[in-house]
Subunit: 245 residues, 2 copies
């Protein structure tokens, strides 16, 4: 059985080269991921150059894996290629709207995860950078993305040079609902989160951040309302500039 | 090597039961997919009942696999559980915004694709229903999704009872850009799309639809500007009602 139970996010990479042959094999294999109407509404920008990685680093808060990884992949929602195809074939594309952005983002994210499953199956290490949608305009400018193309995911890739612990996850019952959604009572929240809150590393995480609860580390420091609102505005502005809304 | 090269979307399922044990094993294994800050911003609604499937069917244009599949999974972007956790832990959640919707959608879609890769690895057949975001309010009402929960993906699941052909895909060069985006010229479009356009099934597809080009089938019939704009509005309205914008 294929398994991802022991997967780990890898942020440190060895000097070993990721061959173009292997990379292309994985990128091509991932193309067999389901896609809307078989349109493949995504593009992948492959960054291997030092200059390219240094240009991308600030858009990802200078997290070191961006410049240290041998390969950085920026996966984009892309209705440009399909629209250009249509324009070249006596057809009028109508994909400058929010639904089309969501359709292309969906294709891009499904592709991304298949790629990661495949790459990790070969022993490669990956790190998913959620920062991609935090300051998208900087990435758009850096990678010269035209209208109807939007960066959705970034993967740093290389051969692992660390052995981090496996992350904990919530019990399955925490994420599953039968037939319809059943809301979370305080009792259920205790059932689902107490084990996580009592992990040694999370107790330390709360202490280091001088907070009272683990949840406060997330709401007050890591993902704050203020930052979320500023970045929501930035993302919406970028979606307008790229012609999706 | 793990491979998805021969995967096929399966829309017809045998009578064989998908055991709860196997389903739960796969749903749990998929939890090891990367997730933002290890928050797991998704929920899965499992529909097995006849009534439940019949209630969902119209939201998916009554595609027969919704009622015929033994299992229907609706994967939702979910900031409700995390927000409830925060409120129960003296923390003030700030996830009623567009960026948070995108973060949770990302988590949900990555989870969905890992689940599909794992399920297909076990021999199960899946069909991804892109219709999930076409009329989301109907799904929200049917599954009783509260605020900060939004349906993002639907998977019908069962043991295969058909052997469809493998779908074609664009050549890798069509989706890859080195260092920065290179726009698509008419020559490149010809290079990348001619093979697809000349496939026997696509020539027939154009004829059946009484169109001149394959692209026109997409722009004029399958994914029209008018439909996209109506459904964009419906999705944005639903996002407002669910508290994300």
């Amino acid at each position: 059985m294929m398994s991802i139970r022991n997967r780990k996010t890898i942020r440190k990479y060895s000097d070993k080269i990721v061959s173009e042959e292997l990379l292309n094999k994985l990128l091509e294999e991932a193309e067999h991921t389901p896609t809307m109407g078989n349109l493949q509404l995504y593009s992948v920008i492959v960054t291997r150059s030092k200059d390219g990685k240094e240009a991308l680093a600030p858009t990802h808060f200078n997290q070191p894996m961006v410049t240290e990884a041998p390969v950085v992949l920026t996966i984009c929602a892309d209705f440009r290629r399909t629209s250009t195809w249509a324009e070249n074939r006596k057809a009028k594309p109508g994909y400058d709207n929010f639904l089309s952005f969501m359709n292309a983002s969906t294709d891009a994210l499904l592709y991304t995860q298949s790629f990661c499953n495949l790459a990790e199956g070969e022993g490669l290490g990956t790190c998913y950078l959620g920062t991609t949608i935090y300051m998208p305009q900087m990435i758009i400018d850096t990678l010269k993305l035209p209208k109807l193309v939007f960066p959705i995911a970034t993967i740093t890739l290389g051969w692992p040079n660390e052995e981090p612990n496996i992350s904990d996850r919530l019990p399955l019952s925490a994420i599953i609902h039968n037939e319809h959604y059943e809301d979370y009572t305080p009792e259920k929240i205790n059932d689902y989160y107490t084990e996580k809150e009592n992990l040694k590393e999370n107790i330390q995480f709360v202490e280091i951040n001088k907070k009272e609860t683990l949840a406060q580390v997330f709401t007050d420091i890591r993902y704050t309302k203020k930052d979320n609102e500023i970045m929501s505005k930035g993302m919406i502005d970028a979606l307008k500039k790229q012609g999706f809304i």
